[in-house]
């Protein structure tokens, strides 16, 4: 099973039926896989805070939701994470492309990468870093943890994770 298939299987097994995405090159294969999953309503959003609003609404409507985005979105969504997702105790798995790490070809991406973990720590968001391909095996537990605790969780997936066999 590919990493993308494994991730989507874990989403489905955790009854996630509503996924919003804002694209990243590193996530292209995963977004395709989500789009073709029959039990998931895939709704692309134009900006990540909009996507979190969609996810909060779907969750209140009885459908577990998740967002897939790039780490640059942490800069866009701090107010939404704090005053919607955390303030109302809404679970939200965030599968995040961690750009600007080792192997990054675009210097500008590093500028947000160096702040990513510090910002997530400041927000008290449980954060997991997938670096080795085997790290994907922890996803199922992380998803369960998010819904159990009704908290957002961040899963940072870097280039080594995506490129590894």
């Amino acid at each position: 099973m590919s990493k993308n298939q494994k991730i989507v299987t874990d989403l489905i097994n955790n009854k996630i039926e509503f996924v919003t995405t804002v694209p990243c090159k590193q996530l292209a294969g995963l977004i395709d896989e989500i789009d073709s999953a029959k039990s998931i309503y895939h709704i692309p959003s134009n900006k990540e805070d909009e996507g979190m609003g969609l996810c909060a609404g779907a969750y209140m409507g009885g459908k577990r939701s998740a967002i897939i985005m790039q780490n640059t979105a942490i800069g866009v969504t701090i107010n939404t994470l704090v005053t919607l997702i955390q303030f109302y105790n809404i679970p939200l798995p965030m599968l995040i492309s961690y750009r600007g790490e080792l192997g990054e070809p675009v210097a500008c991406q590093v500028e947000m990468a160096v702040h990513t973990k510090a910002l997530l720590a400041q927000l008290n968001i449980p954060t997991y870093h997938f670096h080795h391909p085997d790290d994907v095996n922890e996803l199922d537990s992380i998803l369960k943890y998010s819904f159990m605790s009704k908290k957002p969780v961040a899963i940072l997936t870097d280039a080594s994770f995506w490129q590894g066999a």
């Binding site: 709704i43 609404g57 939701s65 005053t83 105790n89």
Partner: protein
């Protein structure tokens, strides 16, 4: 007619419905006029009432009314293409367009100048867009509730506010109470 009067006239029509209300005075006014479990008060994320409403409408079958404002739609203008391309026929987006940022002191918005939100919604691909006067808003909302199509209503009203108390309910209580009501309606 100002927003608080539009809301007051709407209560008999929307009281029975799931309502997601916008940050600031609109939520406070709805809370003061008709607090109940079918209301979700969005307290902190300007622009996201329409997104929360759409997500809710797509996830379950009861009708949903999102009450938004012109300033908030302008803040999250990307919401209109998302709405247009993800049709939920149980969704009504009511934009109370008073041409100003009411909760912050009535600073003018661009919707009160050259920008027509009804035309923007149509250009984004929304199929059923209605622009109406403040006075005609209850009838427009009733027609949308009686119909079977996702509808965007732009209610043109005057700028101005009344004094209303803040909402002191805890956010998880608002959310939990609302979710139980949504589940009850879908049982």
């Amino acid at each position: 007619m100002i927003r608080s009067e539009v809301l007051k006239n709407l209560i008999p029509i929307i009281s029975d419905q799931l309502v997601v209300s916008n940050i600031g005075l609109p939520s406070q006014e709805l809370h003061m006029l008709d607090d109940q479990p079918s209301n979700f008060y969005m307290l902190g994320t300007m622009g996201l009432a329409s997104s929360i409403g759409l997500g809710l409408a797509l996830a379950q079958s009861a009708k949903v009314i999102a009450i938004d404002g012109d300033g908030s739609i302008l803040t999250n203008l990307g919401t209109l293409p998302t709405i247009a391309n993800n049709t939920a026929d149980n969704f009504i987006l009511l934009i109370i367009d008073n041409g100003s940022y009411g909760s912050t002191g009535d600073q003018p918005t661009y919707a009160g100048r050259k920008t027509s939100l009804a035309k923007v919604a149509e250009a984004c691909g929304c199929d059923h867009v209605v622009e109406c006067s403040a006075e005609d808003t209850p009838a427009a909302v009733k027609a949308a509730l009686d119909g079977e199509n996702m509808t965007i209503i732009v209610s043109k009203c005057e700028s101005g506010n009344v004094k209303v108390p803040v909402i002191d309910m805890d956010a998880p209580v608002i959310r939990d109470r609302f979710m139980r009501e949504v589940a009850r309606r879908n049982a």
